[in-house]
Structures are given as C-alpha cells and as structure tokens.
Symmetry: C2
C-alpha cells in the first residue's frame, strides 16, 4: 500500500549525492550511478526532469556534472518527489484537477484530504540538509486527528 516509485527514491538519493558537492563541485552522473547503484541511463532521465523542475543545474564537458540550484536547506524532499512523480494525490478526487462528482456526499473525502496534507507537510519540512546532517527523524508521535 502507498508505494513510492523507484524513480522518486533514486531521485532523492541522487540529490543527496549532488548536495555533497554543494556549492562549488559538480557531481558527474557516473559518480552518482556508482555510489547509489542506479544505471546511468535511468539517472539521465531522472536528473533531466529535476533540472527542468529547477532543482539542479548542469555543467557540460570534462569536469562537468550537476549542482544544486539552491542550498540544501532550501530544497525539500517534497519538492524532489513532486518534481518526479507529481503531487501527492491519494485519490483521483483529491487531485488538484477535476474534483470528484460525489465530493459533497463522500464520507471519505475529508479523510483523504487530511492524510494527504499530513504527508505533504512532512515531506516539505524535510530538506536535503537534514539528510546530509544525518538527522534523526522522529517517528514516535503518531498524531491523530
């Protein structure tokens, strides 16, 4: 239930490697591939998407690679995942586009909305800096409604 795509997972891990070169040292795709055990071809696709999303910039030619567009503190995990897999959309009805026909009468509408916002809140507060710092992510408090 609620799987995260490998694209999203690899994307976050790739961003972590790029963050290690911040602010000056470009990180080559090949280096990321080796350190994170992901194929170069797949990473190309992923990094291209992230570049178009404005999260990284690229430097061509020998010695080139990828650089963060902003500081690790200013790039959240949520942004990375949204860039690759779109926004959290637990149900079709929650999708920014075309709300559900039954939206009014639907008993679960508010439930999914609340969960979706909770998840986005978590992902948006978590940044690359937290990953770099090896932050301990509190997971004990299961805050209810």
């Amino acid at each position: 239930m609620l799987k995260l795509s490998t694209k999203g997972q690899y994307g976050v891990r790739a961003m972590f490697e790029i963050a290690r070169g911040y602010p000056e040292h470009p990180v080559a795709i090949r280096e990321i591939a080796e350190r994170q055990d992901v194929s170069v071809a797949y990473l190309e696709q992923i990094l291209n998407t992230l570049r178009k999303a404005g999260l990284i910039t690229s430097v061509r030619g020998p010695g080139g690679g990828y650089l963060l567009s902003r500081s690790p503190r200013e790039i959240s995990i949520g942004e990375i995942l949204r860039g690759l897999d779109g926004p959290v959309a637990l149900t079709a009805c929650q999708d920014p586009l075309a709300g559900c026909v039954r939206a009014d009468g639907c008993v679960t509408s508010l439930l999914w909305k609340a969960l979706g916002e909770k998840i986005e809140g978590f992902l948006d507060q978590m940044t690359l800096h937290d990953l770099l710092a090896g932050k301990k992510f509190g997971s004990e408090r299961a805050v209810g409604a």
Copy 2:
C-alpha cells in the same frame, strides 16, 4: 505520487455502509453497490477479502448481507486498507520481509521509515466511528521531524 488503490478506497466506503447497519442489520452487497456507485462484481471480491481478514461476517439467504465483526470504534481505516492492499510499504526496503542490502549505508532509510510510521499512525487512529460521526479531521498541523 502515493496513490491509494481504488480497491482500498471502495473498501473503506463499503465498510462505512456496513457500519451503518451495526450492530444488527445486515447490509446487502447490492445496497452498498448502489449507494457507493461501485459494481457488485468488484465489491464481491473486496468484501470477500475483508471477510477473510476478519473484519466482517456474512449472512446468506434473503435478508442477508454483511455485518461488522466488531464495533465501529474498534475497526480502524488502517486495518481495512491493510486487509485489502497489504501494509504501508513505501519502499521495497521498508517491507517487513527482506530488508535492503544497503540498509546500513542508505541515507534515506530512516526517512522512509519515519514517514511510513507516521502514515500508519494516522490510519490506525482513525476508525469507522469517526467516519460515521462525520468527524472533522485535523489537517492543519504538519508535524515535522
């Protein structure tokens, strides 16, 4: 990103209808299908799974239908979704079975674990009773790490 299967969505809505008959009145599959706009054939599959998971019981013959096995306060949304789609498993590595090979060195391991626990905590605290009562689900507080 992070879609919920229609099976899970329909399952929760079906359980809501069944809960309305609690504790004595069995709810026929056909009634659920009509009220929630889901095909009878698909619901059969879903309710069968939920019955095997022990969440509902069935009564055959005319006047029959489905009944909750326990009170609405004692059946959480998490149980329903787990019964239909298995546990929350954001990544292959988080799956109860076979932890990832890189688990030690993986920078995101703790992050996904924390998010997964947060989601499960939310789903496990939410019960059918809350749905019946039209509870307002707090979604404002995005609790960080």
